[in-house]
C-alpha cells in the first residue's frame, strides 16, 4: 500500500527541510531555494525563512509537499537482520543445552577508534541500560581488549584464546575511516588464513546490517543494540554451524 508523508492530513506529503546555499541572502536567493526544493521532487514549496550565515552563504528553512510515494512492502529489510533475541536467562540456558560449553568471545574498538563506551555497553559487567554485558553471562567468557586495538592484535588474541566470536566496534565514520579500517581487517583475516574461523559481529552508532555484510561480517548492530541480542546471535549462529 503506497504511503506518503503525513503533515496534518493523510497523504498531504508535507516535509520540513533546512539547507545552506552558497548565495548571498536576497529575494532572488529565496526564489532559487524554492526552485531547488521543487527539483528535489516536490510539487510545491514554501520558503519559510532565510538567514544570512556569512557573505556568500544563506541558510533556508522550507516546507515542501510531494507526491512521491513508497510501498513499505517493497522495501526489503536487510536480509537476516537479527531483531528477535532471547533474554539473558534463555541465552545461557540455550548455550548450556545446545552447545554444552562456555563460549569464548573477544571484542575491541579497532584501528584508531577510541569510542569504547559502545563495546563496553555490550561486553562489560555494567552492560547497558540495566541489561548486563557479556562478562556477566555464566556461559560466556568475554575478553574486551578496549580502545584503538590494531586488527592484527585482535585476531592474534582471538586465535590465542580460541574465540568462537570476534566483536568489532566502529564509531568514527568521517571520510569512511571505518570502512578503510574494516577492509584492512578482512585483509588481515585472509593473510592469517582465518576465513570462516570466527563468527564476526560488527557494531556502532552508524553501522547497519547491510554495511556489516558488505564488509564480510556475519551481522551488523546499530544504536540501541542490547547485549543479549549479540549473545543470542552468537549462540544461535554457532548452533547452526554445529548442525
Amino acid at each position: 500500500m503506497l504511503i506518503r508523508p503525513y503533515g496534518d492530513r493523510l497523504n498531504d506529503g508535507a516535509v520540513q527541510l533546512s539547507f545552506t546555499l552558497p548565495l548571498d541572502a536576497s529575494g532572488k536567493a529565496v526564489e532559487v531555494a524554492r526552485e531547488y526544493v521543487l527539483r528535489l521532487g516536490f510539487e510545491s514549496c514554501e520558503v519559510a525563512h532565510a538567514s544570512p550565515l556569512m557573505e556568500g552563504f544563506t541558510m533556508f528553512v522550507a516546507y515542501g509537499w510531494t507526491n512521491v510515494s513508497i510501498d513499505p512492502d517493497e522495501v526489503e529489510m536487510d536480509p537476516g537482520l537479527y531483531e528477535r533475541s532471547m533474554d539473558f536467562h534463555e541465552v545461557n540456558a540455550f548455550i548450556k543445552e545446545k552447545i554444552e560449553r562456555k563460549l569464548v568471545v573477544v571484542g575491541a574498538c579497532t584501528g584508531f577508534d577510541a569510542h569504547t563506551v559502545g563495546i563496553d555497553a555490550i561486553m562489560n559487567m555494567k552492560g547497558y541500560d540495566r541489561h548486563y554485558g557479556l562478562e556477566r553471562y555464566p556461559m560466556i567468557e568475554a575478553h574486551n581488549l578496549g580502545a584503538q586495538v590494531p586488527n592484527r592484535e585482535l585476531l592474534n588474541k582471538a586465535v590465542e584464546l580460541g574465540a568462537d566470536a570476534v566483536l568489532v566496534s566502529q564509531t568514527v565514520t568521517q571520510k569512511d575511516a571505518h570502512l578503510v579500517n574494516l577492509r584492512d581487517f578482512q585483509e588481515e583475516i585472509e593473510k592469517m588464513g582465518l576465513k570462516g574461523r570466527f563468527i564476526l559481529l560488527l557494531g556502532g552508532p552508524r553501522i547497519t546490517h547491510k554495511i556489516a555484510l558488505e564488509m564480510g561480517f556475519d551481522a551488523g548492530f546499530g544504536k540501541g543494540c542490547l547485549p543479549e541480542t549479540a549473545a543470542s546471535f552468537i549462540a544461535q549462529r554457532l548452533y547452526e554451524r554445529k548442525e
Binding site: D8, R9, S18, A48, H49, V61, Y63
Partner: protein
C-alpha cells in the same frame, strides 16, 4: 478580604493596598455595565434559553430551530421567548422533540398570551430542572474523573489546538495529542464564526483555518477524548470558543456536552471581531452564568492585545483588563477557580533582559490572582519562519511558565509563523514543554527574587500603571475608554460593530425560567456570587 491581602503580596512583594484599590476600580467599572445588563436581554440569550429548555435541530435549509422559534416571536422578546416555547408545548401537548420537528418544518409559535399560566410554570420548571440536572451530572462526572486521575496531569496543564476543518480529522489529531500527554485540546473555530448570528447544526467537515463549533461536533470530540483518556488513564479536557454573536448559545451547548473550558471574553469580541459592546457584554453575563453552573473554566483573551500593541508598553493594559474580567466573572457567579485570566509571552526576545520582564509579568499575575487558573500563551508576534529559533523561544516561554506556576499552558508551535500545526509540530511542542518543565520542576520554589531588583521593580511598575489606567477607565466608563482606543490601540464606537440590533429591553413582565434557575443556584443558594 484580609486573607486575600497578604496572599496578594506573593513572591514579588507587590503593594497589596494598590491591588485592593485596583479591584475597587474594577467594581466601579462593572457597576454601570451591570445596570445595563440587568434591564436588557438579547436575541442570543433568548435562543440560549430555548436551547436549555430543549429546543434543537434545524430546518431543511439549515436554519436552527432556536432561531426559527425566536424569530417567530420577534416583537415579543421583551417578555422572554420562554413563555411562547413552553406555552406552545403546554397547549399542543407535544413533546419537546415533536415541537422541534414541527418548528423545523414551518410551525410558528403563537404570540397569543399564555393561557394556562400554572401549566406553563409547571412545564418550565420540569424542563429547567432537567437542564440543571444534566449540567450538574456533567459537573459531577468531570470532578470524579479529575480527582481519580489527577496524578497523570501535567502542571501546568498542557493545552494544544487542532484546526483541520474536519471534525473527524480533528478527533484523530486530538487523540494523538492526548496520547502524547496533552491535558487540554482546543478545536479552533472556522474563521469568523464569531460573526455568525446562528450556530450551524450537525457535524461539519469543511472549515477555514478551523472547524465550526456545533453541538454535534462537541459530542464527536467529547467521545474521542473520553476514549483516549480512558486508554491512558487521564481526563482530557475539551475547549471551544464562545466569544462572538452566539456567546450564550455556545455556552449552553458546551454545558450540555460537558466541555471543560471555553474562551469567553466580550472584550475580545469587541476589539478583535468588532462586535457591538452592549450586545456582547449582555451576552457575556448570561453565558458566564451558564459556565459557572457547569463548572467550566473560562479563558479570557488578553493575549490578543499584545499582537497589535507592544508587549512592554501594553503590559499594564493586560493587567487592567484582567481585573475587569475578574470582577465581571465573579458577578456572573464564577468562582475564582473558574476564572482562567489570559496573558502571554510576547516581548521582543532581542531586548536585553526580556526573559526577566516576562518572568516579572507572569509572576505578577500569579501573585495578584493566586486562585485563578491563569492561562499563559506562547510567543506569536516575534516568531519568524526560523523554526529552530522558534523552538528556543518556546523553551524560554515553557521555563517562565513553570517557574511562575501558571495553570494552563497553551503550547507554542515552532511553526507559529508558518502554518497551522502539523501532528509532528504538536509532538515537538509537547516534548519541549515536558522536558523543560520536568527539568525545572521545583525551580520556582527554589529561587527568591531580589528585593527591588529588575524583576520586582518591573512588576511594581506595571501594577502602578494598571492602577492608574483603571482609575481613568472608571472615570470615563469602559465603553468610552474602548472608543478612545485605550485597549490594544483599537478604537470601537459604542453603537458601532455587529449585533446591536439583537439587544432588547426587558419588559416588566420579562420571564426567563433558565435565568431564574441560574441566579438561584449561583447566588441565593449560598450567597457566593459577587463577593
Amino acid at each position: 478580604m484580609g486573607q486575600e491581602l497578604q496572599e496578594a503580596a506573593g513572591r514579588l512583594g507587590l503593594d497589596a493596598e494598590k491591588i485592593a484599590r485596583a479591584r475597587e476600580c474594577a467594581r466601579r467599572i462593572a457597576a454601570p455595565i451591570h445596570e445595563y445588563i440587568s434591564i436588557h436581554t438579547t436575541i442570543s440569550i433568548e435562543r440560549s434559553t430555548l436551547r436549555a429548555l430543549g429546543a434543537d435541530g434545524a430546518s431543511g435549509d439549515g436554519v436552527p430551530v432556536p432561531n426559527l422559534a425566536v424569530d417567530s416571536v420577534k416583537g415579543e422578546l421583551g417578555k422572554g421567548a420562554a413563555r411562547y416555547y413552553v406555552g406552545a408545548l403546554v397547549e399542543t401537548g407535544w413533546t419537546v422533540e415533536e415541537m422541534n420537528l414541527k418548528l423545523a418544518s414551518g410551525y410558528e409559535l403563537s404570540r397569543a398570551g399564555v393561557v394556562d399560566k400554572a401549566g406553563v410554570e409547571r412545564k418550565a420548571g420540569e424542563l429547567t430542572r432537567a437542564y440543571c440536572k444534566r449540567v450538574k451530572d456533567n459537573l459531577a462526572f468531570r470532578a470524579k474523573k479529575i480527582s481519580e486521575r489527577s496524578e497523570r496531569e501535567n502542571s501546568p496543564l498542557l493545552y494544544v489546538i487542532v484546526a483541520t476543518g474536519n471534525v473527524y480529522e480533528d478527533a484523530k489529531q486530538a487523540r494523538a495529542a492526548a496520547l502524547q500527554e496533552a491535558d487540554v485540546i482546543a478545536v479552533i473555530r472556522s474563521t469568523a464564526q464569531s460573526l455568525l448570528d446562528y450556530v450551524p447544526y450537525g457535524p461539519t467537515t469543511e472549515g477555514f483555518g478551523g472547524t465550526y463549533a456545533t453541538q454535534e461536533n462537541f459530542r464527536v470530540m467529547r467521545q474521542a477524548l473520553d476514549e483516549a483518556g480512558d486508554e491512558i488513564g487521564k481526563y482530557v479536557r475539551l475547549v471551544n470558543y464562545c466569544s462572538g454573536l452566539c456567546m450564550p448559545e455556545i455556552a449552553v451547548m458546551a454545558s450540555l456536552e460537558r466541555l471543560d473550558m471555553v474562551l469567553n471574553d466580550a472584550m475580545y469580541g469587541v476589539l478583535f471581531r468588532d462586535i457591538n459592546v452592549y450586545r456582547t457584554f449582555v451576552d457575556q453575563h448570561f453565558a458566564r452564568m451558564v459556565n459557572a453552573l457547569s463548572g467550566e473554566v473560562i479563558n479570557t483573551g488578553e493575549d490578543n492585545y499584545l499582537t497589535t500593541s507592544d508587549a512592554l508598553e501594553a503590559a499594564h493594559v493586560v493587567l487592567a483588563s484582567q481585573f475587569i474580567n475578574e470582577r465581571l466573572a465573579l458577578d456572573a457567579g464564577l468562582d475564582h477557580s473558574l476564572i482562567g485570566l489570559g496573558h502571554a509571552y510576547e516581548i521582543n526576545p532581542e531586548i536585553e533582559n526580556s526573559l526577566l520582564y516576562e518572568l516579572a509579568q507572569a509572576q505578577m499575575a500569579r501573585d495578584i490572582f493566586p486562585k485563578s487558573p491563569l492561562k499563559y500563551m506562547p510567543p506569536t508576534k516575534h516568531m519568524t519562519g526560523d523554526v529552530f529559533r522558534g523552538l528556543v523561544m518556546n523553551s524560554m516561554f515553557n521555563l517562565v511558565s513553570k517557574i511562575s506556576g501558571q495553570s494552563i499552558h497553551l503550547l507554542g508551535m515552532l511553526t507559529e509563523a508558518v502554518h497551522t500545526p502539523s501532528m509532528q509540530d504538536r509532538f515537538l511542542a509537547i516534548d519541549n514543554a515536558r522536558l523543560v518543565m520536568k527539568a525545572a520542576s521545583s525551580l520556582g520554589d527554589e529561587i527568591e527574587y531580589k528585593k527591588d531588583g529588575v524583576i520586582a521593580k518591573r512588576a511594581a511598575l506595571v501594577l502602578d500603571m494598571a492602577a492608574e489606567f483603571l482609575e481613568r477607565v472608571a472615570e470615563s466608563g469602559l465603553f468610552a475608554a474602548i472608543e478612545e482606543g485605550l485597549f490594544a490601540d483599537v478604537k470601537r464606537k459604542p453603537d458601532g460593530g455587529k449585533g446591536l440590533e439583537g439587544v432588547i429591553e426587558k419588559a416588566d413582565d420579562y420571564w426567563n425560567p433558565i435565568q431564574d434557575a441560574l441566579e438561584s443556584e449561583l447566588f441565593q443558594a449560598d450567597g457566593k456570587g459577587g463577593d
